[in-house]
């Protein structure tokens, strides 16, 4: 069975940079963007080089509902 491709998207204007998603992502598919959003937080962002497997752990631990996971 072919693997389903997934994509994680962080809504940067809702992210407060708590880094819980980065801590709990086993694949390292999220990283700190190093940029400030309009609230002044260093928001998380998807790491394009790493693969997202759609395990949804990031959406589970995110306190802000700031992460969306898409599958093809």
């Amino acid at each position: 069975m072919a693997k389903t491709k997934c994509r994680v998207v962080v809504r940067s204007e809702f992210c407060k940079g708590c880094n819980l998603c980065i801590e709990y992502c086993k694949k390292g598919a999220l990283k700190s963007s190093g940029e400030l959003n309009t609230m002044g937080y260093h928001c998380a962002t998807a790491d394009a080089e790493k693969e997202c497997i759609g395990c949804m752990v990031c959406t589970l631990v995110c306190p802000e509902v700031a992460i969306e996971v898409y599958s093809e």
Binding site: C6, V61, P63, V65, V69
Partner: protein, 250 residues
């Protein structure tokens, strides 16, 4: 591309919460909103808010909300449920609200066995007012009003109010869970679902104590706060079911 995580129907969209980064309130709010949708309760739900960090929860839940006086959440929920038994009434309270100023209301509503569900967020400090000592503060834990750590000789011992009310015959279900990682969050959802089901089945009072991180006042990173709950806080407040009288017809 299809989205895998649907936005909870009863959680207001495009509103940024006022909670600090890594706060457990945001996680529990999302869980409650998801459950209201999954259990089809949102149309007839009333949430009773506390004074405390969650005082602004009405801005985030897209359901009817009553804002209670400090600590009087379960008393107001009692009134709402007795007047309209067809509605689904739950309170969402913190430890400063439920176990400090509202101890009397909590104990008596539990003793009466009111048909309400109580979500008790325990973060071991007064979060909103700036991290003062709460009744639930652990021994040795530093806060702004016990800077040398809580000393039981002077400030007494942590209050286990969920263990107290779990002994009452009117309390059908009491459980302590923790927001300390993906597994803990899933168990929290399961526990709150059970508590909500107790009210749907008209069994009686149910209370869920959630050990929740407060990174700002604990002076820890969100990830370290999760670890601190697992390693330290859950030693003082053991996680598990405290009472389950669902099968006994209480």
């Amino acid at each position: 591309m299809k989205i895998l995580n649907k936005w909870p129907k009863y959680y207001k969209k495009d509103v940024v919460t006022h909670y600090c980064p890594g706060c457990g309130h945001g996680i529990v709010h999302r869980i409650v909103a998801e459950l209201l949708e999954e259990m089809d309760l949102g149309k007839r739900a009333i949430c009773v808010n506390p004074a405390g960090c969650a005082v602004l929860a009405y801005k985030y839940f897209d359901i009817d909300v009553i804002e209670s006086a400090h600590g009087r959440g379960t008393a107001i929920a009692t009134g709402a449920k007795r007047v309209r038994p067809d509605l689904f009434v739950f309170t969402y309270q913190g430890d400063g609200d439920l176990s400090a100023i509202g101890t009397a209301e909590t104990i008596h509503s539990a003793n009466r066995g009111e048909h309400i569900s109580v979500i008790f967020i325990n973060n071991a400090v007064y979060g909103m007012t700036g991290g003062q000592m709460a009744p639930t503060t652990l021994i040795g834990q530093k806060t702004t009003t016990c800077p040398a750590g809580r000393d039981p000789k002077f400030q007494g011992y942590p209050l286990h109010i969920t263990d107290v009310v779990a002994n009452f015959p009117g309390v059908v279900y009491a459980e302590r869970v923790a927001v300390n990682g993906p597994a803990g969050i899933q168990k929290t959802k399961k526990a709150i679902q059970t508590a909500f089901q107790c009210q749907v089945d008209e069994l009686g009072y149910s209370i869920i104590e959630v050990l929740s991180p407060c990174p700002t006042n604990w002076k820890k990173t969100p990830a370290d706060s999760f670890k601190w709950i697992t390693e330290t806080m859950s030693k003082e407040f053991p996680i598990g079911v405290l009472t389950d009288k669902r099968g006994s017809g209480a």
